[in-house]
């Protein structure tokens, strides 16, 4: 039987006339890395705030490891921690002092704090900067410190709200590696609006728009649900008119690149036609729909409503 770390039914949050999260259902397995993907204002952060007990839902229920977010807030807080969207570190404190501050505020014993400081500074690759003030760290290192601060209480469920927002590509990939290192050890709920990030990191994900979930599944399942166009690009010096008219696809040509688009492209048939018409080919490439295509398609459809 699958054990769920997070379950939510009909979770809703309204701020006056604005419904930030609308009737959200979630089931996240223990040890799973689950992403909420969506544009700004989709309701991702509000969902994390409700699940971490920072704000109360207007309607609906959620349980984290069996604890009710409305009735058992203290218990929920004991088994979770949040790395907020901004770095949320104390700038004049050193890396170690920041970690000690959080451990102490949660009432951990000093010996436990010291042991975990070493453990998580090592894990997040910031041990060599233990004595550096947080304000002197780069954005990427501050983000790693922020995650270490969330880890120091050894939460079973970790909320990472836009963990790589504003980081350069190199720092982002470094952080991905570290987050992947946590996979399996912790249940992680991550929010992001970077499609590649959700694709690379998630076991499963939900796409959110306007406070509602509009698609859920593994990245591959979501891509498979989308019947978008595939593109086959042929590179050659001359494409005879008879060859082009024989192709049962949408065709566009820019210089030496001929692009065929369609929901299904029969590559074997295209190669057969190439041979039949004596086309001299210098290159060929196929583009499958990416998570980005799916995302833009779904978000676009939502926008039309």
């Amino acid at each position: 039987m699958v054990e769920f770390a997070i379950t939510a039914q009909g979770l809703t949050k309204s701020f006056k006339d604005l419904v930030a999260v609308d009737d959200l259902d979630l089931k996240i397995k223990k040890g799973e890395l689950f992403s909420l993907l969506g544009p700004n204002g989709a309701g991702k952060t509000t969902t994390i705030k409700m699940l971490s007990t920072l704000i109360s839902p207007t309607r609906g229920d959620a349980r984290l490891l069996g604890y009710d977010i409305k009735e058992q807030r203290e218990s929920v807080r004991r088994v979770t921690n949040v790395s907020p969207q901004e770095n949320a570190v104390a700038p004049h404190l050193s890396v170690r002092e920041n970690l000690v501050l959080i451990g102490g505020s949660y009432g951990l014993e000093r010996s436990v704090i010291n042991r975990r400081c070493e453990e998580y500074m090592e894990m997040m690759n910031i041990a060599d900067r233990a004595k550096s003030q947080a304000k002197t760290l780069s954005g990427g290192l501050q983000r790693r410190l922020s995650i270490a601060m969330a880890l120091i209480t050894d939460p079973e469920i970790l909320f990472l709200d836009e963990p790589t927002l504003g980081l350069d590509p190199e720092a982002r990939r470094e952080l991905w590696k570290l987050i992947l290192g946590l996979k399996g050890e912790k249940t992680i709920l991550l929010t992001t609006h970077y499609l590649e990030e959700a694709d690379q990191l998630s076991d499963r994900l939900s796409i959110m728009s306007g406070g509602r979930i509009i698609a859920s599944g593994t990245p591959d399942e979501i891509k498979a649900q989308f019947e978008g166009k595939k593109e086959l690009t042929l590179i050659g010096r001359d494409f005879p008119a008879e060859f082009k008219s024989a192709l049962p696809y949408e065709i566009s040509q820019v210089g030496e690149r001929l692009t065929l688009s369609g929901a299904k492209i029969d590559v074997d048939r295209v190669i057969e036609l190439i041979g039949l018409h004596g086309v001299s080919l210098e290159g060929i490439s196929m583009k499958e729909p990416s998570l980005e295509d799916v995302y833009l398609h779904l978000i676009g459809k939502e926008g039309e409503r």
Binding site: T80, Q85, S105, G107
Partner: protein, 242 residues
Amino acid sequence: MRFKYLAGRTMKEIYRDPITVILGVLMPVLLLLLFSTLMGDNELDQFSPDNLLPGIVVFSYAFLTMFSALLLAKDKEQSFLTRLRTSPLRPTDYVLAYTLPYIPIAIVQTFLCMAAALLIGVTISLHMLTVFVILIPTMLVSIGLGLVFGVLLTENQVSAAGSFVLVIASLFSGAWMDLRMIGGVFETVGYALPFAHGVDAARAILAGRGIAGSVIDLVWVLGYAVVLFLVGTVSFRRLLRS
């Protein structure tokens, strides 16, 4: 005692920012010496060392309002408080952690102003120790005001409000001018606020009128301190729930 970690952090944030310490501690001392030099030959009682000292000390506490409010407003806006809100810290823990660390600064401010006052002619006596104690409620008013501003205002608003408090503490404390002599709105507003009462309480001690001469002023200041800390605690509770 979970608040001690956050209080320690507040302390380090203050002391590792030297400009804060220099502004808050040294500027009042320099002002005291400057006024005393400028008014050296002036025979007005208002500018005698015994009258200048309490005014300058109370004015120096207004810096604490600015410092404490700024740190709290920053923490609030930069999600630092969001992170701490999932911890078991209670509103009173936050209030203590964001106020207690300013007391040592206030003590140093008072001590340095007194030391400087000795240079300009205030005589050492047991009265100085009493003045030290008498000024504690005024110290708490300034810190409490910072707490309330920090919880209720944004970082930008705090900068404006902090400057406003500095001006108010300067004009309406009677530090540089006798409010009763000016009378009218100045006197009414000045004595409706706590600063002039703080200054008068300390002046009464230095003038040898004893605690009895300060009681009414002390009640005013203590009243303000209690109300400000109550409002600060209630506001913090609401902030943590919002």
